[in-house]
Structures are given as structure tokens and as C-alpha cells.
């Protein structure tokens, strides 16, 4: 038997955790390098996991056998499903977490994973032999031998923090940056870019006047992310909503010259969908007020995260601006907001496996690929960790496609189109969104996790039984009729009986309503009830989406040989040739999504792929 592959994972954030955990559980021997072992699993920004489009990613990670869903359930203090008024495809879970609980859950989870050894060190470079990476060099002087390396350095590479005019090298407030590595990679030929993100101040909850805020409770029936979590889940905290005032806007506008975003101090590009309070006020000056959410950081602390107030203004101005809001008249800031600028590697330099095209065995994931968000990072971390092991074993990589997962959509977007601002998931990025739901994540993906050994046989058998049960119930619902006398729909009353499926198809009628109409409902797990409701309610749309997916697969399954020489393509525009050579798409489908590539370019490529041969079929 060959020895277990050595994988070095650099970075203890959400990407690194998934990479290290998955690789170790697949049998690799993992060295998990982090500057501060107590910072593993730290939530750098708001203490919440999930959200629209992101909740789906967490479910996918969980279905594949990753950790984020389980850790979130352990640390969750408020559970909520967003977009409840809309269809199941765009409903997403969001869980407010206890920051410290999350971090300690993550640390004990890693500690309990056999095969992971955690090392406190910082990294100054990698060592390359031939075209492949073979070691990671620590500032301690240690060289960590590696068959593959997963780099998950987050915002730490050459990072600079801005608070007003004060700048200091730091990856997060109070944590040193990782310098040198991106310089070495640049020398190796990697393209390096600069991005910016920000975080709001934290407040002392004892100085907040809650009665003037609107309360934002969790759901009546809290639901977690993971079936693996054994403990009951409960809402233990609420969030609060308040608003900025004209006065707030005046304080910001009067001092805009001291914002590093507005005085030229910051050149990195920030996310448009998560603007700083400065941007909100300057760019949307017609809006009289902006929403501000007050979110608890945990049960054992009075610290409050002030969502919607990301800023890098000087500390005194941050405090002055906060105190213009009635609930925060006397507020005390425990930590100021700040902006952080950091190096990232434009992700078009990666393969769909997240391995770099330049250096064999080197995998990138998380914020260094230009994404933002814990969920996006974790999804990439999982894929990078799995592929690092599969790559060492010369096995087929795990590449999820756009029709089966948000993770696949994200990685394809990154690798094929690149980013021009920190990339965040939206449901609208997924063209097969009606299929990519939270309720069917396991059905979409658990077979991969099972094949990799990350979903146990028992669990998978259990899932298969559940799916079978669901299908049987759907059939049952289509056949079983109840008396229509008791239903509140006049049109149906006259026909005497009605099938349960027909009732469920009526807009606004939920699974639970059927019981009220006199149906004899089987006692089902929530997840099964959900799956039945979706399957019946959206039958027509799901059928049509399925046909589109079949169509999509046609181009997606046409592989382009990795050694394909684009220079031989006479008639292909120079621009198209350059793009194909840079991205090196794996399939015709991926080729067609490269920005600036026209259908003519793809048709030409297709003709050449099929036509390299003879005209022998001519009659």
C-alpha cells in the first residue's frame, strides 16, 4: 500500500477547516498551519452563517460531508428562514451564531479529527520541485514536506488595515499579516490583485436602548442545517432593527474627507453589494435612512455586531455617527470598524479543481480567490481539500457542475469569468436555481460525499431510505383523495372529492393546511414534508428545469482535450484564441461561458473538435 498523501493546509479560517477536515477524513496526513491556533474558526465579520444563496451552499457542504452546517447548528442562537414569502427554491436559512461557541466547536472538531496536526507558524513561501510544490516554508525555519498544498490565507496576504488615516499591517484587527508569500508567487508568474473589504464597529450591548428598536425574532420552529447535529436546536436570542437618521448622514458627509475610501488612501476594490456606510450615504443621498441591524455576538457576552454600518472612518467619527441614532444615544464602542486591503490571485489562474494551472499540487481557496463570505470560502475549501487528496492519488477530481450545485456555479464563475469585486453568491447566479434548493441538497450531492468516504454507509443508506419514502409519499398524494366538502374552495366543493396533490398545488396551500382540510397526514420529518410539498407544487417548473439541465449537459459533457492546441484553429479570432489559451476550458460548455467568447467562436471550436478527422462520412 502506498503511504498516505501529505497535505499542508495554510490558514485556519472556514476554507482551511473544510480542506483540512475533508483531506484527513479521506485518509491524508494533514499539517494544518495557522498563525494562532486559538483563532481557528474565528468569524471575522458578522456572527451569522447562511443567508440568501449562502444557506444553500451550507446545505451542500453538509450533504457532501463537510463541517460548516454541523458547527453552525452547535453554535446557533437564532434560526431563521429568509424569503419565506417566496418559493422554496429561493428560501435560505440564516443562523445567528455565538462567536465564541462557533470557534470552540471548530477547534474541538479539528482536534477530534484524526490525521490533522495543527501547527502554529506563519508561512513565508513554498518550495517547488519541477513543476510541483513539495514543501511549505515556515517563518519558524521549519520546512513542511507536502505532496499537495492548500492555501487558504483569507485577507492576510500583504494585508493593511485602515481606520481613518491610521493604517497598519494586519490581517484582522490585532492579528499580524502574512507577508512574503504573495511576492514569491508573483515571481513564479502568478497574477496578483488587490481587494478591499470592511467590517463595522462592535458595541457594548448594555449601552443600547433596545425599546426604541424593532425586534427581529427567529422562526417559531427553528431548523438547523445538519442532520448530524444530535442536540435540539432553539432560539436563544433576538436581533434588533433600527435606522440611521438625517443627523447620521450629516456627520458622515461632513467628515467624508477623512474616510480612507474617499481620500484615495484605499485603492483596492470593495464589494458593491456590501457597501460601507460612507458609500451608502454618498452614493444614495436620496435615501432618507438606512437599515441598521443589531446582532448579538453570543450568549456569554454583551458585545453587539452592528450590521449595515461597515466603516473605516476615524474612531471618533464612527462613535459620533453611531450616537446620532436614538437607540445608540449613549452607546459605547468596544471595537471600531475598519477596512482591510489584501492580495488576491485572480481565480482564472485556477482549474475547476481549484489547483493552480502554474504549479502542480498547489490549491487556492477562499478569499485569496477573490470571494467574500464564510460559506463561499468553506465551499471552496472543501473542494480544494478533496481534490488535493484525489490529485495525489491520481484519481478523477471532484468537479461539481452548474446544474447540480451552487458550489459548482461559484467555482465555474470564478475560474471561467474571474472577479472584478469580491464575489458573493446570489441565487440569480444559478441558471438552474429551481433545482438547487436547500431541501434537495443531499439528494443532489450526498452520493459524492459517500463515494469519497465523507458520508458514512449508514448515513447514506438512511438517506436512500428517506428518498424512497419521499417518492412513495408523492405517489400517495397524487392518488389519495379526500372529501372536498371541508375545503375552503368553492370550485372544488361541487366535485365531491379531490386529490391531496391537487389541493397542495393551489397557491398558498401548505402541507400543514392539508391536515386542517381533513386529510389524514402521515407523521413525517420536516425535511420529507418539504420535499413532498416542493415536488408537487412545482412539478411543471421542475420538469421544465430538468429538460433545460439535460440540454445544458450536452455541451457540458463535450470534453476538450487538455493538450488541445488552439493555434491550429484557423479562422478563430485572435482575441478568442488568447482567451481559450488562458482559461483552457475543460468542456465546450465552459468555453461558451468565457466572457467575450461568441457563439461563433464556440461553434468553430466544436467543428474543429469533431472535424479533426476525415471527410470519410461524405456520401
Amino acid at each position: 500500500m502506498r503511504r498516505a498523501p501529505h497535505i499542508v493546509v495554510i490558514g485556519g479560517g472556514h476554507a482551511g477547516i473544510e480542506a483540512a477536515s475533508a483531506a484527513a477524513r479521506m485518509g491524508a496526513s494533514v499539517t494544518f498551519i495557522t498563525q494562532d491556533v486559538h483563532a481557528i474558526g474565528r468569524m471575522s465579520c458578522n456572527p451569522a452563517v447562511g443567508g440568501i444563496g449562502k444557506g444553500q451552499i451550507v446545505r451542500e457542504i453538509d450533504a457532501l460531508g463537510g463541517r460548516m452546517g454541523y458547527l453552525t447548528d452547535r453554535a446557533g442562537i437564532q434560526f431563521k428562514i429568509l424569503n419565506r414569502s417566496k418559493g422554496p427554491a429561493v428560501q435560505s436559512s440564516r443562523v445567528q451564531c455565538d462567536r465564541l461557541l462557533y470557534q470552540s466547536a471548530a477547534q474541538s472538531d479539528i482536534r477530534d479529527t484524526s490525521g490533522v496536526s495543527v501547527v502554529a507558524d506563519s508561512v513565508r513561501g513554498i518550495r517547488i520541485k519541477g513543476e510541483a510544490v513539495n514543501a511549505v516554508l515556515g517563518n519558524s525555519g521549519e520546512a513542511y514536506e507536502a505532496d499537495a498544498v492548500v492555501l487558504a490565507a483569507g485577507t492576510f496576504l500583504e494585508a493593511i488595515i485602515h481606520v481613518g488615516s491610521s493604517t497598519r499591517p494586519a490581517g484582522r484587527l490585532g492579528e499580524a499579516p502574512a507577508n512574503g508569500l504573495s511576492g514569491q508567487l508573483r515571481e513564479l508568474g502568478f497574477e496578483v490583485g488587490r481587494l478591499k473589504t470592511g467590517t463595522p464597529p462592535r458595541l457594548d450591548g448594555r449601552t443600547i436602548d433596545y425599546p426604541v428598536c424593532d425586534v427581529q425574532p427567529g422562526d417559531e420552529l427553528p431548523r438547523g442545517f445538519s442532520r448530524r447535529h444530535p442536540l435540539p436546536i432553539a432560539n436563544r436570542a433576538v436581533c434588533w432593527l433600527t435606522y440611521t437618521t438625517a443627523e447620521t448622514h450629516k456627520v458622515i458627509a461632513d467628515n467624508i474627507g477623512s474616510s480612507p475610501l474617499y481620500n484615495g488612501q484605499i485603492s483596492g476594490i470593495g464589494p458593491r453589494y456590501c457597501p460601507s456606510i460612507e458609500d451608502k450615504i454618498m452614493k444614495f443621498s436620496d435615501k432618507p435612512r438606512h437599515q441598521i441591524f443589531l446582532e448579538p455576538e453570543g450568549m456569554g457576552t454583551d458585545e453587539i455586531y452592528i450590521n449595515g454600518f461597515s466603516t473605516s472612518m476615524p474612531v471618533d467619527i464612527q462613535a459620533n455617527a453611531l450616537r446620532t441614532m436614538p437607540a445608540l444615544r449613549d452607546v459605547r464602542m468596544t471595537r471600531p470598524g475598519y477596512a482591510v486591503e489584501y492580495d488576491f490571485f485572480p481565480p482564472t489562474q485556477l482549474r475547476l479543481t481549484l489547483e493552480t494551472k502554474l504549479v502542480r499540487g498547489l490549491y487556492f481557496c477562499g478569499q485569496i480567490n477573490g470571494t467574500s463570505g464564510y460559506e463561499e470560502a468553506a465551499g471552496q475549501g472543501f473542494i480544494a481539500g478533496v481534490n488535493a487528496v484525489l490529485g495525489c492519488r491520481d484519481e478523477e477530481p471532484l468537479i461539481l457542475d452548474r446544474s447540480e450545485s451552487y458550489i459548482g456555479v461559484m467555482i465555474d464563475d470564478l475560474v471561467t469569468s474571474g472577479v472584478d469585486e469580491p464575489y458573493r453568491m446570489f441565487t440569480s447566479r444559478a441558471e438552474h436555481r429551481l433545482h438547487l434548493r436547500e431541501d434537495n441538497a443531499q439528494r443532489r450531492l450526498s452520493r459524492y460525499g459517500h463515494r469519497l468516504g465523507l458520508v458514512s454507509d449508514d448515513e447514506f443508506e438512511d438517506l436512500k431510505r428517506q428518498w424512497e419514502q419521499t417518492d412513495n409519499h408523492i405517489e400517495q398524494f397524487r392518488r389519495t383523495t379526500i372529501s372536498s366538502k371541508t375545503v375552503p374552495f368553492d370550485g372544488l366543493k361541487r366535485q365531491g372529492t379531490v386529490t391531496m396533490a391537487a389541493l397542495l398545488r393551489i397557491p398558498g396551500v401548505s402541507f400543514a393546511d392539508l391536515g386542517r382540510f381533513g386529510a389524514d397526514l402521515p407523521d413525517l420529518e420536516d425535511s420529507i414534508a418539504d420535499a413532498i410539498e416542493v415536488a408537487i407544487k412545482y412539478e411543471g417548473y421542475i420538469d421544465r428545469q430538468t429538460r433545460q439541465i439535460e440540454q445544458f449537459k450536452k455541451l457540458e459533457t463535450q470534453r476538450i482535450p487538455s493538450a488541445f492546441t488552439y493555434t491550429q484553429l484557423t479562422g478563430l479570432r485572435r482575441e478568442a484564441k488568447e482567451k481559450f489559451m488562458r482559461i483552457r476550458p475543460m468542456t465546450l460548455g465552459q468555453a461558451s461561458r468565457i466572457p467575450g467568447i461568441t457563439s461563433s467562436d464556440v461553434a468553430l471550436l466544436m467543428v474543429h473538435l469533431h472535424g479533426n478527422g476525415s471527410r470519410s462520412s461524405r456520401g
Binding site: 440568501i52 429561493v90 441565487t427 421544465r544 479562422g571 464556440v602 461553434a603 472535424g611 479533426n612 461524405r618
Partner: protein
């Protein structure tokens, strides 16, 4: 790709579309049965060399630069026998229709001579071009994009100046612009729907559904107008088909020849001479009109003639209009079309022919000036006219009737109108259906994600016309539309 010079039109399986650009190919470039001049086209790296081997002129063709025309003779190099006198035009890459070296032989001869020229080119090393191959080569060599490729096919098929104008207009991209506009409007609607889905946590104005509704209606109406243009487009491209039918020897072929102004149909005094269906295009006020001469309709025991009669009825069924020719020197009432064989909706004129042969002073029309329709009303779409195909008497009135029919068949015609072809029609129909579903979902208060699903489908459909999404089906559809030589 399969190659066939005759037989059933076939579909190209796009996943097997391939062209060997190193080979030189040739084909007859003028449509069957049209025109006195014929063109044989040769394209590929060896085009000028191969052409030179079969061409005898003042100069050696192989040495000539692009855009030059040479008078000479095509010979069979094996036997040195002359085939036809031709004009040879030399094109040098990339400045040719296909972007490759190319030669066009313009010959006098009919089909047989053109086929012989093709034969010697093939024996000198050229391959026969597959249907659509010249266009496919032009496309592969980056000379044209998808919509242009289709417009070229229409341009080549265009039978009159008016149709050519519409084809030129499409070539310049007005269809492209209109579709781009529509797509942009839809993308605006999608953006508004998505706002209400992905950003509900933010305090943004929720997706503006009223605006979405306005956009969907606008695009739906404009898509409808493009679909109306299909009818005009069809007439401009395929011609307005007028079938000449009637009892044997009533003078159908004489009228056919008079209108076509040539002696194409065999005209004799023996009833039943025209046993097949003959077609000719004429230009009527800029409209291409396809005249179809048919076998006379009578009870017959002759097998071949009976087949001809069957074809006549089939032609009448598919016609845009029917001219029913009767012999006014006979009993007019007995020569009228049997009830039911000409569809009620098809415009019909009864032409009482041979009025020049009537004894002077005799009553001209023996049937009422209009045929009654099913409800007993006189139908001005079904007039009775007195004509003489021999002298031309009354023919002008007949042409007036045909023009009136065309104007009615042409919904909202104007030359400025964007005309669309069959593929565009199929795609626009799909977009229109998606839009209807989306508007219903919106009206029913369904979730924005379900409305968005169909709006995105509509946008994708529109994208297919302008080539902004590529699917196998689009390519297959396009490439199968091109016939050999075009």
C-alpha cells in the same frame, strides 16, 4: 456531414458537423431551374490551381490575381474536349465569400453543362461541397456571423429586388438591433425580479412588479409584430404561389407562358399535354409570384395523366391562390371546379379563356361575375374574369386581382418591415410562449423566481437568434437550412 446532390433535404447533426478546410470543394451555385446562366463555384486552397487545369484562355488562370475576370473555355483535360465557353472570376484569400481562394465559372449552359463542369473539377481533385458548406466555411473563416449567414442564404434565394432589399436590410443587422433591444428590455425585467429575491434583507425597493409587467407586455407586443412580419417575409422569400388549374386544353399553359413570357410549357392542341407541374417565378409589383402550371383535370384512364391530376389537386391545396381556367367556347357552367377541392380560404378566380375565339356578338360571360361563397354571398376574392391568353385581353385585370390578393395575404407589409425566416419564427414563438407563461405567473401572484424562470427562457430564446447563446440545436438548424451551392 453527408453529401447528396439530390434527394430529400436532410438535417445536419451538429455534433458531427465538420469541414476539412484543407480540401477544395465545388458545387453548382445557381438554384435548379432558374435562369439561363449558371455558376459553378470552387473554393479552398487548391481552387485556382484546379480551375487552371480545366480552363483554356488567353492567360493561365493560376497566375491571375484576385478580382480578375477571364474569358475562356472549360475543357475536359483528359480528352481535351470543350465543354462550354465561360467567364472565370478569380478570388484570392481572404477576400472571397468563403475567405479562401476561390474561382467562379459563369457558363451559358443548362443543368447538363454545369454538371459536366462540376465533373471535370472533381476529377481534377476537388470534392463536392456539402449543403451549406460554402457558408459554413465563410463562418469558420470568420467572414460572417450566424445572423449574417442566414441572411446570405435568404439573399441568394431572393427572387426579386424587393426581397433582396429585405434580405440586405437584415444583413445590415436591423433584426439584430430589434432583438437586442427586446433582450435588453427583458434583462431589465429579470434584474427587477431578481432584486426582490436576492436582496430582501436589504432595505431596497422590492422588485418593481408594475415595471416588470410593462416590460413583458412591451416585448410581447413587439415579438408579436415580428411574427406578423413572418408572413411578409415568407412571401418575399418563397414567393406567392398561384396555381393554374382547370379542365384539359382550356389554355392553362398558354396563360402560363403568356405570364412567364417564354415558351417553357409544351403547348399543343392535344388535351392532356402537360402531365407534370411546371413552375416559374414572375415579378409582380416587386413581389415574387410563383406560377404553377398543372395537368388538366378530367376523368382519365391514362395512368400517367391520372398522376398529373393528383398533383394538380395537391398543388391547389398548398397554393396561396388558384386561377381556374375554363374554355369560354365550351359550356362554362360544366367546367367549374368540383366543390370542395379548393379550400374555402384560398383566393380563386375563374378565368373564362379564349374569348378571342368566340363568335362576334356572342355573350361573353356565361357565369355570374362572382362565385358565391358558402354563405351564399358574392365573394370579391373569387371573381370571374374574361380573358384571352393568346391576345392578352383581360390579363391586366387578372394581374390586378393577384396583386390585391397578395396585399391581403401580406399582413402589415412594408419594405421597411423586418422580415424573419422559419428559424426566427420558431424561436420567437418560443419566446412568445415563455412571455405568456411569465405574464400569467405574474398575474396569478406566483413567486418572482417562477416569473423569472420564464422571462429568462424568453431572453435565452431571443439570444439564440442573434447568436448570443450557442446550442447544438441552433447550429444544426442553421446549417441544415443551406442548400448545396448557396
Amino acid at each position: 456531414m453527408q453529401c447528396s446532390l439530390q434527394g430529400e433535404p436532410f438535417r445536419v447533426n451538429p455534433s458531427s458537423v465538420h469541414v476539412d478546410l484543407t480540401q477544395t470543394v465545388c458545387a453548382i451555385a445557381t438554384p435548379l431551374g432558374q435562369g439561363g446562366l449558371g455558376i459553378v463555384r470552387l473554393s479552398g486552397p487548391q481552387a485556382v490551381m484546379i480551375a487552371s487545369r480545366v480552363f483554356r484562355g488567353a492567360r493561365t488562370l493560376a497566375d491571375q490575381p484576385g478580382f480578375t475576370v477571364h474569358l475562356g473555355i472549360v475543357i475536359d483535360p483528359e480528352t481535351n474536349l470543350e465543354i462550354d465557353e465561360v467567364l472565370a472570376t478569380v478570388f484570392r484569400r481572404p477576400r472571397s465569400f468563403t475567405g479562401e481562394d476561390a474561382v467562379e465559372f459563369s457558363a451559358h449552359g443548362g443543368r447538363i453543362v454545369l454538371s459536366r463542369i462540376l465533373g471535370v473539377l472533381i476529377s481534377c481533385g476537388a470534392g463536392p461541397a456539402s449543403p451549406g458548406e460554402f457558408t459554413l466555411r465563410a463562418f469558420l473563416n470568420g467572414r460572417i456571423d450566424l445572423t449574417r449567414a442566414e441572411a446570405v442564404a435568404d439573399l441568394i434565394a431572393a427572387k426579386t429586388g424587393e426581397a433582396a432589399k429585405a434580405a440586405m436590410k437584415q444583413l445590415r443587422g436591423s433584426l439584430l438591433e430589434e432583438i437586442r433591444e427586446l433582450r435588453k428590455t427583458l434583462i431589465g425585467a429579470i434584474a427587477r425580479l431578481e432584486m426582490g429575491i436576492d436582496f430582501t434583507e436589504e432595505d431596497l425597493a422590492a422588485g418593481d412588479l408594475a415595471d416588470v409587467k410593462v416590460r413583458l407586455q412591451d416585448v410581447s407586443e413587439r415579438t408579436g409584430r415580428l411574427l406578423e412580419g413572418y408572413q411578409s417575409g415568407r412571401i418575399l422569400r418563397d414567393g406567392f404561389t398561384v396555381v393554374l388549374a382547370g379542365p384539359p386544353n382550356s389554355g392553362k399553359s398558354t396563360l402560363f407562358n403568356y405570364l412567364a413570357q417564354d415558351e417553357r410549357a409544351i403547348v399543343t392542341d392535344i388535351p392532356g399535354t402537360t402531365r407534370d407541374v411546371l413552375k416559374e417565378f414572375i415579378n409582380l409589383n416587386g413581389w415574387p409570384v410563383c406560377l404553377v402550371d398543372t395537368a388538366g383535370v378530367r376523368e382519365t384512364s391514362d395512368v400517367i395523366e391520372r398522376l398529373g391530376v393528383e398533383r394538380t389537386w395537391n398543388a391547389a391545396l398548398e397554393a396561396d391562390a388558384v386561377l381556374w381556367i375554363i374554355d369560354s367556347t365550351g359550356d362554362c357552367a360544366k367546367q367549374l371546379p368540383p366543390p370542395g377541392v379548393i379550400p374555402e380560404a384560398t383566393p380563386l378566380a375563374i378565368c373564362c379563356n379564349k374569348i378571342d375565339a368566340l363568335p362576334p356578338g356572342s355573350e361573353v360571360s356565361k357565369v355570374p361575375p362572382f362565385l358565391p361563397n358558402t354563405s351564399g354571398q358574392n365573394d370579391d376574392e373569387r371573381p370571374v374574369l374574361d380573358i384571352s391568353a393568346r391576345t392578352g385581353t383581360g390579363v391586366r385585370d387578372l394581374l390586378g386581382v393577384i396583386i390585391r390578393w397578395i396585399d391581403r395575404a401580406d399582413t402589415g407589409h412594408s419594405v421597411d418591415m423586418i422580415t424573419i425566416n422559419d428559424r426566427h419564427r420558431a424561436v420567437l414563438m418560443a419566446a412568445s410562449t415563455s412571455l405568456q407563461t411569465a405574464m400569467q405567473a405574474l398575474a396569478a401572484g406566483n413567486g418572482a423566481e417562477l416569473v423569472a424562470f420564464d422571462v429568462k427562457n424568453a431572453a435565452t430564446s431571443l439570444g439564440e437568434i442573434i447568436g448570443e447563446t450557442t446550442t447544438d440545436d441552433v447550429l444544426g438548424e442553421i446549417f441544415s437550412r443551406f442548400c448545396i451551392g448557396k
